[in-house]
Symmetry: none
Subunit: 424 residues, 2 copies
């Protein structure tokens, strides 16, 4: 099925904002077996929107349109759609009710929000529970999906509403099976090399790579007319990918590394406490982003200053002055200190130089020590992470989480990210 994506918004063509949502939409469509012939970015311009929609009718079997559905004066998608397709705007009572409810709740009027309730005649609202409506409009047998441009809403509606409906609307007996492996510790190229023979071995099998730093998403898709054959190829390919990637797979599909760590802790009767320096809370933030994390996460400390490392974690002044804050010894004492203080059975600690300044010849920017204290012992590794401050912090937190996952799942003390040669 050939379709196109139209993204609307002045910010998209100004070059001020990097648009990643279209990539997400394209990727989801592709992974579900729908082809995209064209992606067009245009501004909040009545005539441009109208022309682009009319041209889509000529060439596409389905159309995804994002953006321009908000309440402000530059949001003109609905008006443009109505013009392009010769339809009236009609007040949608369900949405209008939601808006009035929200007004009562706030105790003040939402004057511009009424606009959100005026949709082109024939629009079927995708998410009647929200008041930022996405909708489906079928015109000349072509499904047009209109979605909000706000990434979180867009991604949510794409997965929960658009894909299931497309499957019904464009049902032509094409069977699609798909699975995404989230991988950490191998580069895209390394993964690609591993799979070289696999992809060409089977009809209807394709493997997509989507770097989602610091992880790489590997999506296996199998399409075909024969459901049995598709299932067979899919099972073979999934199994082979699991073998090839092994412990580098940190999560599958909607699961995440931090969710998996949480489940493994729960299963092992483990409770975790963290001590962070250069990641400044990122590790704690990722863990506590999971609902129910209080069951397996007790506390964290962000010991950013040297004094706080002494005062909070009881790292000796001697350790800090002799070995330095970024050292094997300090990392070890941090992990053991937080585990002891919190009375937990697991402690994770990170100390390093995220940059851009603070590097030395011995310890350049990107040098990070990670320590993992388990009920058995404390392991420490030195890493050298590349990239910006942001990347070093992200890689350090991911490596620490992944290391704990590997220990909890396989009992191994070998981290997924390759340690630096000098480990002391």
């Amino acid at each position: 099925m050939h379709g196109e994506i139209i993204a609307i918004g002045d910010e998209l063509i100004s070059g001020k904002v990097l648009n990643t949502t279209c990539g997400f939409v394209a990727n989801r469509l592709f992974c579900s077996g729908y082809l995209i012939d064209k992606i067009t970015f245009i501004g909040d311009d009545l005539d441009a929107i109208r022309r682009t929609i009319l041209s889509a009718i000529e060439s596409s079997e389905y159309v995804i349109i994002t953006g321009g559905l908000g309440p402000t004066s530059d949001d003109i998608t609905n008006e443009a759609v109505a013009k392009a397709l010769g339809r009236h705007l009609v007040l949608n009572k369900a949405i209008w009710g939601k808006i009035k409810e929200a007004e009562q709740h706030l105790g003040r009027p939402l004057p511009l929000w009424e606009k959100l309730a005026w949709l082109p005649d024939g629009a079927e609202v995708l998410n009647p529970e929200g008041h930022s409506a996405g909708y489906l409009l079928i015109h000349q047998d072509i499904p047009f999906f209109f979605l909000p441009g706000v990434p979180e809403q867009l991604e949510n509606q794409m997965v929960q509403q658009v894909l299931p409906r497309l499957k019904v609307l464009l049902a032509q007996g094409l069977e699609v099976r798909q699975q995404t492996f989230k991988v950490f510790g191998l580069s895209e190229t390394e993964i690609n090399l591993l799979f070289k023979d696999l992809e060409s071995s089977q009809d209807g099998l394709s493997i997509g790579y989507y770097p989602n730093s610091p992880e790489v998403n590997v999506t296996v898709t199998v399409k075909g007319r024969d459901p049995k054959k598709v299932a067979q190829v899919f099972d073979m390919a999934s199994k082979r990918i699991e073998e090839l990637l092994g412990r580098y797979i940190v999560a599958v599909n909607e699961d995440s590394l931090e969710e998996r760590v949480g489940r493994l802790l729960l299963k092992n009767g483990g409770v975790l406490a963290t001590a962070e320096s250069c990641t400044g809370g990122l590790l704690g933030q990722r863990l506590t982003s999971i609902p129910g994390s209080s069951d397996w996460f007790d506390r964290g400390v962000i010991t950013y200053s040297n004094r706080s490392k002494e005062e909070v974690l009881g790292i000796s002044h001697e350790t800090l002055s002799h070995h330095g804050a970024v050292s094997y010894q300090t990392a070890k004492e941090m992990a053991e200190g937080i585990k002891r203080l919190a009375g937990t059975n697991y402690g994770l600690a990170i100390t390093g130089i995220a940059g851009p300044s603070g590097g030395t010849a011995q310890r350049p920017v990107g040098t990070v020590y990670i320590a993992m204290a388990t009920p058995e012992r404390t392991a420490v590794e030195r890493f050298h992470f590349p990239g910006t401050r942001h990347m070093v912090q992200a890689l350090a937190a991911e490596t620490a989480l992944d290391w704990l996952r590997r220990y909890l799942d396989y009992g191994t003390y070998v981290p997924g990210y390759r340690p630096a040669r000098h480990t002391k």
Copy 2:
């Protein structure tokens, strides 16, 4: 000058790869005063390329086309251009010479590379020194720039070749001035209402809104042919926007709220320590994402469990059992506790119910207490944040940071986000 960008390559529409180069090209054009009306991504498809080029002739004053210039069989841009514009492909001797030189150097033939030397009649090569040629073709007075899709080459040729030539070709460049205000505490609609009269008051002035949760980005753009007039309108509009938004502006352009908080602390001789419960490290993570934050951030604690609140921060057992972990009193003791422990002059604390579970009738999901301890006193406010766990956490951290910014900059204890009615 209105133009468009056409990016060619199957990988761009497959969703397998996230394209960032078009954002770069758009940004460079915009910053140099050239407007872009449209960005189109299409595959390596002869007919699609031909149609898109023909349509560009109808609507654009200049066109940038990237990709499909390589040596492999799927690179068909030159062929498509020749067809679309009715021109022959002609062997470019300079490029052909380069290719043969490279062959001698390698000691083996480069069979497919000859293709790179066959360019549409009239093409002017932009970088005669390289053999991955970009070129300029002027057709019906419209400059078409063809550039390689490889990001590094593309960005290089864009800056060194395209922009200087565009300046000469489109001599009456449009003057553009632009600024982005990052706003917190007002909704998109509220901002829009404030600006209702402003936008229509001046020619060439436009105001764009881009929700960048939990902030809203407000971009003021002024375009025109008369640089003096543009500067005048821009200064007037910027000043007016600053007046209208006032303290709700948390940062301007590339600046961020956390960077501003850092600078204000530094200026005031302030050092901050944080105590987080429901945000789980997000506050610390945002602060320490700023290079040099060790100058004004001492430490943070993530006291997730009740026991950790007692042990780490010295919150009394009575406070926790009588008032609860999510209470005015606990938030106050958390902020004062971390300030005292760290020996800093500022303490920020957050405790609340991020959800999805854990809410009660008195304290529903989204209830968050934030406390700010300053050298003078400790202020506490109760908030009710809407949305998912992720949104509640993001709003809580933003509100805390913004509150400190307002105190440091204006000496006020009034937060930017509206507190809930019951503040105890």
